[in-house]
């Protein structure tokens, strides 16, 4: 089975404060970047299939030059090769991204049995590129894949995560597009040495312009805003010791600790 896995380079914002600049843009320049966490699970899921039953994994990324680094990571994990579809500006419209990718796949005649994506990207949380891409390629689709129970030539039996601890088991015919949910596996550890070694594997670079670039987007960000205020917490301040005593006082008052 030949699997294409889409990976994305995203800023690591979990522990960082995000600021909107005077010109309305987001300043991401100080942030560390990394592979979208959901894509780690997608790469791992693809590798486990080909390691068991043969085939190959190609990592693809759509983004600027720097995005090469996530291809390096995917190759260090075990992907056979990497393709960079170079697009200097961020495309916020998932339709524009999916359209560009589908044009690229069609024009370059890239063969595959399955396309894997992460369920969403950590930065924009659209969770939409996989589904749009599947429709554009006229292929069956499933999102929220939390288990891959069987794989054969005809397709796969997968489990989709629904809400509240329920899964839906479905059969999907190949070729297909699957969006992989986090927690489906434990992505393998990648060493610095592994990433260095991966850098010797040549990556093919394609210019997005040749496939229509961003095209004319269907949606557009007008501006960035901070989250709506909801009242907010009473903040505890002071020395660590006194804050911890205050905190224990609250637990006592609520009757959960004596």
């Amino acid at each position: 089975m030949h699997i294409l896995v889409f990976t994305k380079r995203v800023p690591a914002t979990q522990e960082e404060e995000l600021r909107i600049q005077g010109d309305g843009k987001l300043d991401l320049s100080r942030l560390p970047f990394k592979m979208n966490d959901y894509d780690n699970y997608a790469v791992e899921a693809a590798l486990r299939i080909v390691e068991k039953s043969g085939g190959s994994v190609t990592a693809i990324t759509l983004g600027d030059k720097e995005s090469d680094e996530v291809l390096g990571r995917a190759i260090a994990m075990g992907a056979n090769d990497g393709l960079l579809l170079e697009q200097p500006e961020v495309l916020h419209d998932p339709y524009a991204r999916a359209f560009l990718i589908s044009s690229f796949i069609k024009k370059e005649n890239i063969a595959f049995d399955a396309v894997f994506t992460g369920v969403q990207s950590e930065d924009d949380q659209f969770g939409a590129v996989g589904g749009i891409l599947a429709a554009l390629l006229n292929l069956p689709y499933s999102s929220m894949v939390i288990g891959i129970d069987e794989v054969d030539e005809a397709g796969a039996v997968v489990r989709r995560e629904l809400e509240g601890g329920i899964h839906e088991r479905i059969r999907v015919k190949a070729p297909c597009v699957l969006s992989i949910q986090s927690g489906i596996n434990e992505p393998r550890y990648v060493s610095i040495m592994g990433i260095r070694k991966a850098s010797s594997v040549e990556r093919k670079v394609f210019k997005a312009d040749s496939y229509g670039g961003g095209g004319s987007p269907l949606i557009r960000v007008v501006r960035w805003v901070y989250p709506p205020k909801q009242g907010g917490a009473t903040m505890l301040r002071g020395e660590l010791e006194s804050v911890c005593k205050d905190l224990l006082g609250i637990l006592k008052e609520k009757g959960v600790w004596q």
Binding site: H92, E163, I219, W224
Partner: protein
Amino acid sequence: MSYTLVVAEVRRGVFEERNMDSFGISTLLGKDIYLVVPDGSSGPGEMFASRVITVRTGEEIFSNPLNIKGIVEQIMSENGKPSCIVFTHSSSGMECAAYLAGAFGFPLITDISGFDKEKNIFLKSYYSDKIFGEFEFRADKTLVLTVRSGSFRKSAVVKGAAAAVDVIENIAISGDRTFIEYVEEEQAGIDITKADFLLSIGRGAGSKDEVPEYEELADLLNAVLSGSRPVIDKAWLPKSRQVGISGKTVKPKVYLAMGISGAFHHMAGMKDSECIIAVNKDSNAPIFESAHYGFVGDIHKVRDKLKAIVKEATVHKG
């Protein structure tokens, strides 16, 4: 007169409560509301929609993106193109909305939580709710939306007149993706929904090696240890301890969140707790907006200090 099409989410016979948010945004959009549902349950749909279209098929076939495409195609050929198609932002809503947008070349905005009617702009979360984007869209095309649960239900307005009723008897059922069965996740270990006091840890806990330290604190405080999605994905805690949309919904007396930033899918599972206390090193973490008490600081230091104080108090009591 154009209309807004609400695609219902029905799961195991239940008309999901988050459909109310779809009615809410549709009410704000101001067009006639058409509701499409599978056989069985249209819930309170008749009260909010001016037309209810029942598809003579089960929910398993209905909530399959490949089949939804054909269903919407039939509705459009009978009624013309809607100005907007609304889904819940759920496992099924997300995949059906994206597939539909791709199939028809419609603009799509997912996980919307706000709408400015005057500017015709939608609000959507970025970066785990740390920043929101205001989106405009190509107004000459049908807009596809998925709606964040809890965001719009208060705007839903009950209609005076009875809803018209339509039935779609036959649809093309795709053989490329077929339903097999529902599976319940295995339930093992402690039931966190029964705890009065949850100590919950997030990504900020740093590594699996730190988890026993939090277990010890939970024991000292007579709390039960739970976690957010990343903690369960990384196997630091078992699945049965997960709080959030895809885990458990909890309402303890006290929810002490340490190193949890408070993204929506987590908050939805614990926002009704009687008292939420949040400790996080990021002063802008969204959890501080919904928490009752907050402290900005290093969670490991808070943990160790709490342990020291509690241990000392126990010694003094003898």
